[in-house]
């Protein structure tokens, strides 16, 4: 049977609940908006029910651990084409086996989950590292990101711990939403017109007057800590693949 859901994590967990309740054999699970029906295949839509989702989550936590439940959520954000089915397969294996199989790295499904989680972890880490805030006139520290996966929901905690006393805004210019912290709470936001936010480097007219100076100071710091005698671009690229250079103001040429 082919099942569709609303594309949220709760939705996917609700699918798991339904499968067990109705003892369905599943051939495919797809988010509703990605499903293209055709003559031969009919899909059944499963409503999202947060109480069901909760029970499935608790089940995962009990059988494996909280950490694994979180891992599954992180993998869900990976936007891999078959992620719904992969997560389903994992949960099914977990529920159907008498012991906790979540560290059975000899199993392909388990291994893939851990590999995806590693990739996500790396991307989150890179965002922690490479985000460069610019201070605006209204005292908001602002940064644009374009992560490889949809990791923005995983970022607020880290920045909240560091910057509880300054306002900040992280904006994913590809997925067109952001998270804003106003000194009290974080909120996910979207803008009808986000044209201005698309720019990595904000226009000087909206920046705090000290901002350009600090960008220049940072770049000159970066340039002078380099040791030319030890130049090793291969190693450099291994640490900072080219696609991340756009984040790094110190790597911009024109100032």
């Amino acid at each position: 049977m082919i099942l569709t859901y609303d594309g949220t994590f709760s939705g996917l967990l609700s699918v798991v609940f339904e499968v067990y309740r109705l003892k369905i054999t599943v051939s495919k699970i797809v988010p509703e908006d990605e499903w293209q029906s055709n003559f031969f295949d009919q899909a059944t839509y499963v409503e999202t029910d947060s109480a069901w989702a909760d029970r499935v989550r608790k089940g995962i936590e009990k059988k494996a651990s909280k950490k694994i439940a979180n891992t599954l959520y992180q993998c869900f954000l990976s936007e891999q084409a078959d992620i719904s089915m992969l997560l389903f397969n994992f949960i099914q294996k977990l529920f159907d086996s008498p012991s906790d199989i979540s560290d059975n790295y000899g199993d392909d499904t388990v291994l893939r989950i851990h590999q995806i989680k590693k990739k996500i972890g790396r991307e989150v880490h890179r965002m922690h590292a490479f985000v460069r805030f610019q201070r605006t006139k209204d005292d908001i520290y602002y940064a644009v990101i374009e992560p490889d996966f949809n990791v923005l929901p995983l970022l607020p905690k880290h920045f909240l711990d560091r910057y509880p006393a300054q306002k900040w805004l992280l904006y994913d210019s590809q997925r067109r939403y952001g998270v804003y912290y106003d000194l009290h709470k974080t909120t996910f936001i979207t803008f009808e017109d986000d044209e201005r936010l698309q720019y990595r480097q904000l226009n000087e007219s909206v920046l705090d007057q000290s901002e350009p100076e600090y960008q220049i100071l940072w770049k000159s710091y970066f340039d002078s800590v380099n040791i030319p005698e030890r130049r090793n671009m291969k190693l450099h690229l291994q640490h900072v693949p080219k696609r991340y250079w756009k984040y790094l103001s110190e790597k911009r040429q024109q100032f």
Partner: protein, 415 residues
């Protein structure tokens, strides 16, 4: 901020860059609700220089004026370089503003000796104090403890800094005397021993009283310059081993000598010994995380590390009688000694084998580098075709594909 600050920053970061310690790890300082920053566990590298080193901290000298004349140092009195000095306020502003923009994890502040050790140390301490108290800064602070400064100042530094370091620089006192006539080991060991004692004391206190104040929670470190003087790896690693054991150091850094100095007391090196430096880090890693004793890595028969092979592979080839290792039964520590198996893979092996015996294909998926490991292990595939090979043959096999990678994998240690 103005042009002058930019110029100072250029001079004083350039002069600080040969101190290779960059890490902001090992501390655990929580932020407060109205504070700025934290430092927990692993520090983050916010950028990388073109030589592939991590940029994690604002690493600067307070001043490069110095009354000493150490031959290996760019800031030595007799060297003709531009001199500059930051004010306390300038360092504080740079740190805060860089931190707020997510450029750095914190501050690494060192200094040439201006006027006298106490005068210099007092300023370093004042900067750390202002950051912590006025700006509620909870990011990482690493201060250099200036040899010759009073115990009181060193003590105060420990109350604000996450980590303190005193650099031995030259791996034997005899060589040190030749290149730095004003220095001696006694002056360096004095603050180091004071710190070792005090750090241990505060740790004990923290066990008893939870809210006891912290003292250099990230511990202390030092740096050894490699290749400027004739010490062999045997001496260098034994010294490091002693520093870990006796002074309880968190890290020893090895800095391949960059031939910048035209001072005639220094050797005329053509190149920085980067490969040797890399091998020393690998050996150090084996001592700290892999349970190797220093004499298993270097000894009187093998006083130098093999530049072509990483020290773990070299160990395995020197000790064929310890292999093969049965992946499905051996202890974790034993598995960790197999070339091609790192900490992560070893942990995964131990977890996965509970669910069923492992084969080569599983090991490969787990991330074991079979090209290296296959000569040293047995698993459920009982082929044995790679076992019992002459160490010399394995050595050849190891050298072929990896040769060009040696320099690139500077800190990416063992597969």
């Amino acid at each position: 901020m103005n042009q002058r600050v930019k110029e100072k920053l250029e001079i004083l970061s350039d002069a600080a860059k040969y101190d290779v310690s960059c890490s902001s790890s090992g501390s655990n300082r929580k932020n407060t609700k109205d504070g700025l920053g934290n430092s927990s566990g692993m520090g983050i590298c916010h950028s990388y220089t073109e030589d592939g080193r991590c940029v994690s901290l604002l690493k600067i000298l307070l001043t490069n004026h110095c009354i000493f004349d150490c031959a290996y140092c760019v800031s030595r009195r007799s060297n003709d370089v531009k001199r500059a000095a930051f004010t306390v306020q300038e360092v504080v502003d740079l740190t805060i503003n860089f931190y707020r923009r997510n450029y750095i994890e914190g501050l690494f502040l060192s200094s040439g000796i201006f006027k006298n050790p106490d005068y210099t140390m007092e300023r370093l301490v004042r900067i750390a104090k202002e950051l912590r108290t006025q700006h509620k800064f909870n990011g990482y602070i690493h201060l250099k403890a200036i040899p010759g400064a009073s115990d009181e100042l060193i003590h105060e530094a420990g109350l604000y800094a996450d980590r303190l370091s005193v650099n031995l620089e030259i791996p034997s006192e005899m060589s040190l005397k030749k290149v730095a006539p004003e220095k001696n080991y006694g002056d360096v060991y004095k603050p180091m021993n004071y710190l070792a004692e005090t750090i241990t004391g505060f740790k004990e206190e923290q066990k008893a009283i939870r809210r006891a104040p912290k003292f250099a929670p990230g511990g202390q470190s030092t740096q050894l310059v490699i290749g400027a003087t004739p010490e062999k790896d045997l001496q260098v690693l034994n010294l490091a081993n002693d520093l870990y054991k006796k002074q309880n150091l968190k890290r020893v850094y090895y800095s391949g000598y960059v031939p910048i100095s035209s001072d005639e007391r220094m050797p005329a090196l053509k190149q920085t010994p980067v490969v040797r430096e890399n091998r020393l880090y690998q050996a150090d890693w084996l001592m700290r995380f892999y349970g190797f004793g220093v004499d298993e890595i270097v000894n009187d028969h093998h006083p130098e590390l093999d530049l072509e092979l990483d020290p773990k592979a070299a160990y395995a080839l020197r000790n064929p009688e310890r292999f093969p290792v049965d992946i499905n039964h051996a202890d974790y520590e034993v598995i960790l000694r197999v070339p091609g198996i790192g900490v992560r893979s070893a942990k995964k092996i131990v977890a996965a084998r509970k669910h069923g015996k492992l084969r080569m294909e599983h090991l490969k998926k787990i991330g074991v580098v079979l090209k290296r490991a296959k000569y040293f292990i047995t698993c459920l595939d009982k082929d044995f075709i790679f076992l019992g090979k002459q160490p010399e043959l394995i050595r050849q096999a190891f050298l072929q594909p990896t040769r060009s990678k040696v320099a690139a994998n500077q800190l990416n240690l063992f597969a």
